[in-house]
Symmetry: C2
Subunit: 213 residues, 2 copies
Amino acid sequence: MDEHNISKAVIRRLPRYHRYLGYLIDEKVERISSNELSRRMKVTASQIRQDLNNFGGFGQQGYGYNVKYLYQEIGKILGLDKTYSMIVIGSGNLGQAIANYVKFEKRGMHVIGLFDCNEALKGKLVRDIPIRMIDELPEFLQNNKVDIATLTLPKAGAEAVAGVIVENGVRAIWNFAHTDLELPDDVIVENVHLSESLMQLTYKINHSAADRE
Amino acid sequence: MDEHNISKAVIRRLPRYHRYLGYLIDEKVERISSNELSRRMKVTASQIRQDLNNFGGFGQQGYGYNVKYLYQEIGKILGLDKTYSMIVIGSGNLGQAIANYVKFEKRGMHVIGLFDCNEALKGKLVRDIPIRMIDELPEFLQNNKVDIATLTLPKAGAEAVAGVIVENGVRAIWNFAHTDLELPDDVIVENVHLSESLMQLTYKINHSAADRE
């Protein structure tokens, strides 16, 4: 399968297909047509056919998609068939929320370390993992393979710590700090800028009435 | 200014322009060319000109953009010149993180209530607001104007509570529960599905090497 020409927009939509296919598996549905999937997902059937055609051979005219096969293939494309070790830097409410989010564990995500600069949190257990002080980070990274570093700390701290984790071999960052980190090209970053999401909401609050006119 | 034809993609990019213009204001920069903004934001100058042309009249050939004016106008479009009252339903780590996130307050966001179904949290103060039990929610909504309800509770709880808040007049939902809420057309929803963001990261971990070949 030629995955390299798949557009970013399609990749962004894949998790939602994966989720709905998971619901279908729970309901013991074995095959589904693009029309039925369209009704459930509130996306046009032609969009579904176009998106899933990227992977080739999943659907058959008049026969529908094999739910379990498609679920597994999309899971593989998204890298969900593998396991990942994660550390969380910034162990306040947001960092603890992420460490506790059970679903992540189900998806092969193993939190192996939490860090903070607040002495009051030192040694506190989150999912049986003690919160470590940030000065222990370089040594921890030298002794442990870390696939993903999650940054749930303020902007200035995130910028300071990003260099340290990259120097020590981390190649993927899940960044919640409200800044665009300056990193080498071979470092992967996925940003979650919550305030930008909130601005989409305030935009819609002010424009939705007009849009419907 | 004709805002109604602006594409969703442009609207998604506006918060980032707003953020960089804010940095420029902090640096006391009064005017900026699209080329210089391009260098800072790592976006092409032609994309910047195209995006900002949607609002008309901000830029002048050879003269650049008026930073403060553009910052204010984009802020107005995003609805940042207004204030909003918010409640947070689900007062675990994620809900508390949102309520504590100081920046939201700066953006005119006022958290006026927190709710949970866990009796152990009853009365606990977050930013001087006591956590209330979920059965108090309908009465609270009848007595208080709530612009935005943030849902930071599990899927089943979110689906159950969404009906209650909509029946009681809330018209905008910031949804962190990993489900597509079924709501009337006049209710605005902005979803933050963290596990979908994480899947973008695991996708990139598995495909970035190949993409660079």
